[in-house]
């Protein structure tokens, strides 16, 4: 399901969303800001109309003054509502990339108006939590690739709740969602540099040797359970790792899967595994130049991006 296909509910929302703000930092422009009376405003407005009629009929000046005073307060409150929303500023956006299927956590820094009332924020299909200087958005993801943020609606009823002002913001920049990770992937394929060594593309990689822990072994390889039970420091070493430190080239064909998405999920899982095991890895996708084997955060990101956009 594509988030873009979710249309805002009301007709008014559809109409006004065309004027959504797209930039960051952003402050609602007059033309991006809409205001209408709320139901309470309409009820009281009609009551005021009848009051006006009654007091004009008897020319009771105090009653007329009261009616006009309340009317003026209503109108001034509309200006306040408008200004309240106009004083909102969205400043900066922080998001850590996630794999498809996980929830995307976005932290949107903002500067709400200095009142005791914070404007409300609604988004389509996402959870919002308001704080004094930031907004946390929790957005479920479904697909790898570019994700456009769903539109956010800023709403204010300050100060009297008789008018509602709103403005839409839809960030023009997209966020990259990494591919989903296959949950139980097969072990890494054997080293592609020596394909003749084995008939099996991937042998019993899940069998691991336990060796005495040496300084320099990464923490992730410590056999914690054994340590807990026996007090012995041992570290896991996947079988054959010691013999074949040579770099891996992970190729799309090696996944043995025809479905593109499944293949990409598997490759993603492999890349992460190889990075975890510190085996240098490269990536070759069908029809694209391959990425030379390497290790490290930047390389990982590069490979994941390639996979996300494949």
């Amino acid at each position: 399901m594509n988030l873009d296909s979710i249309a805002p509910s009301g007709r008014m929302d559809r109409l006004t969303m065309k004027r959504a703000g797209k930039t960051l930092p952003w402050q609602p422009d007059r033309r991006q800001l809409f205001i209408l009376p709320t139901r309470g405003g309409i009820i009281l407005g009609i009551a005021l109309l009848f009051m006006l009629l009654g007091s004009l009929n008897y020319n009771n000046n105090l009653a007329i003054a009261l009616t006009f005073f309340m009317t003026s307060c209503l109108l001034v409150s509309a200006i306040w509502t408008h200004r309240h929303l106009q004083d909102c500023r969205l400043l900066e956006l922080q998001a850590l990339p996630v794999h498809a299927g996980e929830s995307l956590k976005i932290r949107l820094f903002w500067q709400p108006p200095e009142t005791s009332y914070l404007p409300e924020i609604q988004g389509l299909n996402l959870q919002v939590a308001r704080h004094d200087n930031h907004i946390d958005l929790l957005l479920p993801t479904h697909h790898r690739g570019w994700l456009k943020l769903p539109p956010l609606k800023l709403t204010s009823r300050y100060p009297l709740g008789l008018f509602v002002a709103w403005s839409w913001w839809r960030y023009s920049r997209k966020l990259l969602i990494w591919p989903a990770v296959e949950i139980q992937p097969p072990p890494l394929p054997r080293l592609q540099t020596v394909p003749a060594k084995s008939n099996y593309p991937f042998s019993q990689g899940d069998l691991t040797e336990l060796q005495r822990w040496q300084a320099g072994d990464p923490m992730s390889r410590v056999a914690w359970k054994i340590l807990a039970r026996h007090g012995q420091w041992l570290s896991r070493h996947p079988e054959g790792e010691n013999e074949s430190h040579g770099p891996l080239l992970l190729r799309e064909e090696d996944t043995g899967l025809r479905d593109r998405e499944a293949a990409i999920s598997r490759l993603t899982a492999w890349i992460l595994e190889a990075e975890r095991l510190s085996i240098p890895y490269g990536l070759e996708l069908r029809g694209q130049p391959s990425i030379a084997p390497a290790l490290g955060e930047a390389h990982l990101t590069c490979c994941l991006e390639r996979l996300a956009l494949a």
């Binding site: 009654g54 008897y58 009653a63 005073f69 307060c73 001034v76």
Partner: protein
């Protein structure tokens, strides 16, 4: 399901506003109604504190019907102002017992709005205005609380942070004033008056039966104020304020009648008395004026028997310039007046009738007979008392020959009857006598307690003569109060309460003159006066409006960026002479380009360097020389090489 509003500060505020809106109603609602309303309100309080649940929907309907019926049953006029406001209060309190959503609050607030309106219809004094303003601010605070969504806080804490409400109210004031002054007023009311006109606000009713005025004597409410007497203010005991003439007697009550309208006359110049009368609003089609009315700016007819008859049954507060004749009454004998003035019920009061005929025969002339009757009141043991004994069926007989105790209306009625019985035309006039002088504002305030009734008798050759039989019996009734005041005033014996009373009355007088009487006519004349101004005001306004953009432009011209303008000038000239010049590039690049592609490009490059120096270099560089001429190279520079 738990109702979230129970502990919400907004509900506390709603309860508070309800009781505040009910409070002034104690002045005019009967005790039973008040008790019922108070019980309903306490139910809300009991729910809030957890003693009682809210009524369920069916019992609510039944309860509403019962209470509404009970409250309306108490009212003399079913849908008058009192009945209406009592019903409104029931609705409001019932609504406050079914608060479930925010919308219920808005409905309750509509009820509160109309309650405030009914308060103002009952009483439009300045302090009621302040009170209602306070209530209105409370309503704004209620809206604020509903919006803030702070369900947990206590009401006082919430209100402490509601100060923006005051700011909002202040900002709304200018618009309020503009709307008040400029919003078109109605020249004629759109519909009639549901106000309780039978309980006329000034208390004078168009009929007089024994015991009618007694309620008024205890009421200190001001009815009108008079000031600016020209040429001078008459003594207070000469101020007979005429309201109505009662012609028709049915044996018990005198009823009102009026003769056709008269042409406005012009009394002799030294006989006129001009004055300003500022009245409170009241119900009735009669208007007060000083005896004997001659002319004035009332929107009413002046009848032959000296009454002002308005077409409306409701007189708004207003200010009127009136003229009276001091001595010359100028009343012509209208045939209708002479026949009305002799009308008597076919039977009743036989003793008075025969006594009157005998005494007239004995004294000969009507004037002598009149003198005799007044003397009779004075000599015999007639007493003035505000608590007379009740009179039997023959009221006049009873009064003249049995009880002999009464006040102005008894004497006026008895005198008029006696005169008529003797064949002398007579009538009863009601109105006010005297008033209280307020030295602060230099005006006279006339209160309900100044209500008075007297008699007018037709004497051949003299016309209608004002006779005040009360003065014959109890001159002190006419003079005591006035003397007391003057003594106080003369000797400087002002006690604090009198001083305070006068201050407050002066405030009320100002309030009436400046605020309450603003209406369609005043609005029109104000706008008309504004319309006279164009030569002065409008021209000035237009000129000012025209000057504003000029000023704005001047301001920006002064603050303009000279260097940036020079750069733009360079760009423009380059573009004109060499269209392909890379004017969008930076100064350095442009200077390089100029050196290569322009004749005399070095000079331009130097100029650009100078510009750069001024723009970014340290301060103190000499000002920029004029832009050197820009000329194309005849040949590209490469061909030189």
């Amino acid at each position: 399901m738990k109702n979230p509003w129970r502990n919400h500060p907004a509900y506390s505020l709603l309860l508070a506003l309800n009781i505040l809106a009910l409070l002034p109603q104690t002045f005019w609602l009967d005790p039973l109604t008040l008790l019922l309303l108070l019980l309903l309100w306490s139910w809300g309080l009991a729910w809030k504190t957890g003693y009682l649940p809210l009524p369920n929907p069916w019992s609510k309907v039944v309860l509403t019907l019962i209470v509404a019926a009970a409250v309306l049953g108490q009212q003399a006029v079913l849908l008058g102002l009192r009945g209406g406001s009592a019903l409104l209060a029931v609705m409001l309190l019932m609504k406050s017992l079914e608060i479930r959503t925010e919308r219920d609050f808005y409905s309750a607030m509509v009820g509160l709005f109309f309650m405030q309106l009914s308060l103002l219809f009952h009483n439009d004094s300045w302090w009621m205005g302040l009170y209602v303003l306070f209530l209105a601010l409370g309503m704004l605070a209620l809206l604020w609380l509903l919006t803030q969504n702070k369900a947990r806080d206590r009401l006082p804490d919430c209100l402490r942070h509601a100060s923006p409400i005051l700011r909002l109210a202040l900002q709304a004031l200018p618009l309020t004033v503009a709307l008040f002054l400029l919003f078109p007023r109605l020249a004629q009311p759109l519909w009639g008056l549901p106000l309780d006109s039978t309980q006329g606000k000034t208390g004078l009713s168009d009929k007089l039966s024994p015991g009618d005025l007694i309620e008024l004597f205890l009421d200190d409410t001001p009815v009108f104020r008079a000031s600016r007497f020209q040429p001078a203010m008459p003594p207070l005991d000469q101020l007979y304020w005429r309201a109505m003439v009662l012609w028709h007697f049915d044996g018990r009550a005198w009823k009102r009648g009026w003769l056709p309208a008269q042409a406005r006359q012009k009394p002799a110049k030294d006989d006129t008395l001009r004055y300003l009368l500022v009245n409170e609003a009241y119900a009735g089609n009669w208007l007060v004026s000083l005896d004997w009315p001659v002319d004035g700016d009332y929107q009413a007819q002046l009848t032959l028997d000296g009454q002002w008859i308005s077409r409306q049954q409701w007189q708004p507060a207003g200010e009127h310039q009136l003229i009276s004749a001091r001595t010359d009454r100028q009343e012509s004998a209208h045939p209708l007046a002479l026949s009305w003035g002799l009308q008597l019920p076919p039977a009743g009061n036989p003793q008075t009738r025969s006594w009157a005929r005998q005494q007239l025969k004995k004294h000969g002339s009507p004037a002598a007979f009149l003198r005799f009757v007044l003397n009779h009141f004075n000599r015999e043991n007639f007493y003035y008392s505000l608590t007379p004994q009740p009179l039997g069926e023959n009221t006049v007989d009873d009064f003249l020959f049995r009880t002999r105790i009464g006040y102005c209306e008894h004497y006026a009625s008895a005198l008029a009857f006696t005169m008529r019985a003797a064949g002398i035309p007579a009538r009863v006039v009601t109105g006010y006598l005297g008033g209280e002088y307020n030295p602060l504002g230099q005006y006279i305030v006339v209160r309900k307690s100044d209500a008075h009734a007297w008699t007018e008798v037709w004497l051949k050759g003299q016309g209608w003569v004002r006779v005040d039989p009360t003065a014959a019996v109890a001159p002190e009734r006419v003079q005591t109060a006035i003397r007391d005041q003057q003594a106080v005033h003369d000797q400087g014996m002002m006690t604090v309460d009198i001083w305070l009373k006068q201050q407050l009355d002066w405030l009320a007088y100002r309030w009436n003159r400046w605020f309450l009487q603003y209406n369609y006519d005043l609005q029109r004349s104000m706008l008309h006066n504004l319309g006279q101004w164009p030569r002065h005001l409008s021209l000035w306004m237009l000129a000012l409006l025209g000057l504003l953009p000029l000023g704005w432009w001047l301001y920006h011209w002064q603050k303009r960026d000279r260097l940036l303008q020079q750069w733009h000038q360079l760009q423009r000239q380059l573009k004109r002479v060499v269209p392909e010049a890379p004017v969008q590039q930076g100064p350095e690049a442009l200077a390089r380009w100029a050196r290569l592609h322009l004749q005399g490009g070095d000079e331009l490059a130097r100029w650009i360097q100078h510009w750069l120096q001024l723009r970014y270099g340290p301060a103190g560089s000499p000002p920029l020389p004029p832009l050197p001429p820009i000329r194309r190279c005849d040949k590209p520079p490469s061909s030189h090489a």
